[in-house]
């Protein structure tokens, strides 16, 4: 019991160090013979296709909810976006050119434990765009 309390106290002290002092950098350390432990990003690779036809959709805006990064899909509907390393990665897909490539409803999605493989995003068309 006492040990548990002491541990909690130490954890609290740790948080206080991180937030109230100029020592936050102390938490971000790197072993001499190791690689950096900070600014750790993941690159999500994927392709956006039409749910109905399976055709790739170019020019869709892809936004990372965590860091706000925005990229667009290329002619093959493919995208690469750099996001912070998190268990759950929120992405928003938006049709920004409206009728130009068909019209699609905005899609919010969450990727759990992204492992690096390419993701396939299917967007729903709206109205008679296709």
């Amino acid at each position: 019991m006492f040990k548990k309390l002491q541990f909690k106290k130490r954890q609290l002290l740790r948080v206080l160090f991180g937030s109230f002092t100029a020592t936050a950098l102390m938490f971000v350390f790197q072993a001499c013979y190791g690689m950096p432990n900070e600014d750790f990003l993941l690159c999500i690779h994927g392709q956006v296709i039409s749910e109905k036809t399976g055709a790739p959709i170019p020019n869709i805006e892809v936004q990372s909810n965590a860091n706000g990064t925005i990229v667009r899909t290329d002619a093959q509907g493919q995208f690469d976006i750099d996001v912070p390393f998190q268990e759950q990665l929120g992405l928003t897909f938006r049709d920004i050119d409206q009728a130009a490539n068909g019209q699609y409803a905005t899609l919010d999605t969450v990727l759990n434990d992204y492992t690096g493989e390419s993701v396939l995003i299917r967007m729903k068309s709206i109205r008679n765009a296709e």
């Binding site: 971000v28 001499c32 013979y33 268990e87 492992t115």
Partner: protein, 352 residues
């Protein structure tokens, strides 16, 4: 920095260090996945051999060993640093990385860059690679001399160009010795010209192959020159340069790194070596091994052993016994202690 402020910050740091030692969360786990290497560097501190007969550790063995950590820590608490030997020689490296990602672990590699090309970059980033450290030990002639291969500079620089343009966290590390010390300013310009922004400097510890080569050790004045170069470059602000965690640097402490010297071996840093040994940093003398994954539980070893790293009072011997800086330094780096606990060298004393 006004003296009072400096003293207060150092005092605060010592409380922080004590707290971190008591919590000893395993945040950084090395995996010595292979002893094979495609170079035979003059300064190698590893025990690996170019044609190692020791087989690579199967990924399943490593995954089984780290399984208990997942019950103890939140996901993403621990980063796995894959090292060797040369990790890129493992044909299944991407599969290993993907398996780590599936368990919510971040991973990165430490490499000589010889085999790092666009195709390798794609393969590894698609397996969730997040960070890379590449060695570049001077301008072309000196790098190739140290690394013993005429192509090593070209390949390492090419790797760095690919990496620095990507999303990866990265840095370039340079082992400084007598032959490349004076070319550091030129190397800085070369890195900047190639868009490389993160740089870390080491000295070479008198361990492994480096013991036999005096040219690799810096004199006191040369060490001062090195620390001054780092301090000046940091002040200049054109490149993110740090001195590695290897030693306490006295008055330079506030000027050569983002934080104070803190040897976290066995406090936040652990390693699983090629034969399954559980240790702190891989470059620490193998007599400090604390257990073995093939007959011990990693979490149990981490929680209940490592006393020598968490209570360093035994290090207050030899020159450290009478040292005025002991309180701040705590006897220096674990990797600079021999099997009997004797200090191999003290960088700070050398510079005085």
């Amino acid at each position: 920095m006004p003296n009072k402020r400096k003293l207060f910050k150092r005092w605060l740091f010592r409380i922080f260090r004590k707290n971190e030692t008591a919590i000893h969360e395993l945040n950084y786990l090395f995996w010595e996945c292979t002893w094979r290497c495609n170079l035979a560097c003059r300064h190698c501190g590893s025990d690996c051999q170019a044609s190692a007969t020791v087989p690579d550790m199967p990924i399943e063995d490593f995954l089984n060993a780290i399984e208990p950590l997942q019950h103890r820590y939140k996901r993403n608490t621990t980063i796995v640093a894959i090292t060797g030997g040369e990790p890129l020689l493992r044909p299944d490296l991407a599969d290993c990385g993907r398996a780590l990602r599936k368990r919510g672990l971040r991973w990165g590699i430490v490499t000589n860059g010889m085999l790092y090309n666009e195709a390798m970059h794609q393969r590894l980033t698609q397996a969730g690679l997040g960070a890379v450290t590449v060695s570049l030990d001077g301008l072309e002639e000196n790098h190739n001399w140290l690394r013993g291969n005429p192509l090593s500079f070209k390949n390492a620089l090419n790797a760095l160009r690919i990496i620095s343009q990507s999303h990866l966290a990265y840095d370039v590390v340079t082992c400084v010795h007598q032959r490349n010390l004076n070319e550091l300013p030129q190397l800085k310009e070369l890195l900047l010209t190639n868009g490389i922004q993160h740089w870390r400097l080491f000295t070479i510890a008198p361990i492994g192959r480096a013991v036999q080569n005096d040219e690799l050790q810096l004199s006191g004045n040369q060490l001062k020159q090195l620390l001054q170069f780092i301090a000046d470059t940091r002040k200049e602000g054109r490149i993110d340069l740090k001195f590695s965690c290897e030693a306490y640097t006295g008055d330079y402490e506030e000027r050569v790194r983002d934080s104070y010297f803190f040897c976290r071996a066995g406090i936040n840093i652990g390693s699983i070596l090629i034969d399954g040994s559980i240790s702190a940093c891989p470059n620490i003398h193998r007599s400090y091994v604390q257990g073995n994954i093939y007959h011990d539980d990693l979490l149990d070893v981490w929680e209940n052993r490592f006393e020598k790293m968490r209570d360093r009072s035994w290090m207050k011997c030899g020159p450290c016994a009478k040292c005025n800086d002991y309180k701040q330094c705590l006897g220096g780096a674990m990797h600079l202690r021999d099997a009997n606990g004797k200090i191999l060298h003290c960088l700070h004393r050398k510079t005085r």
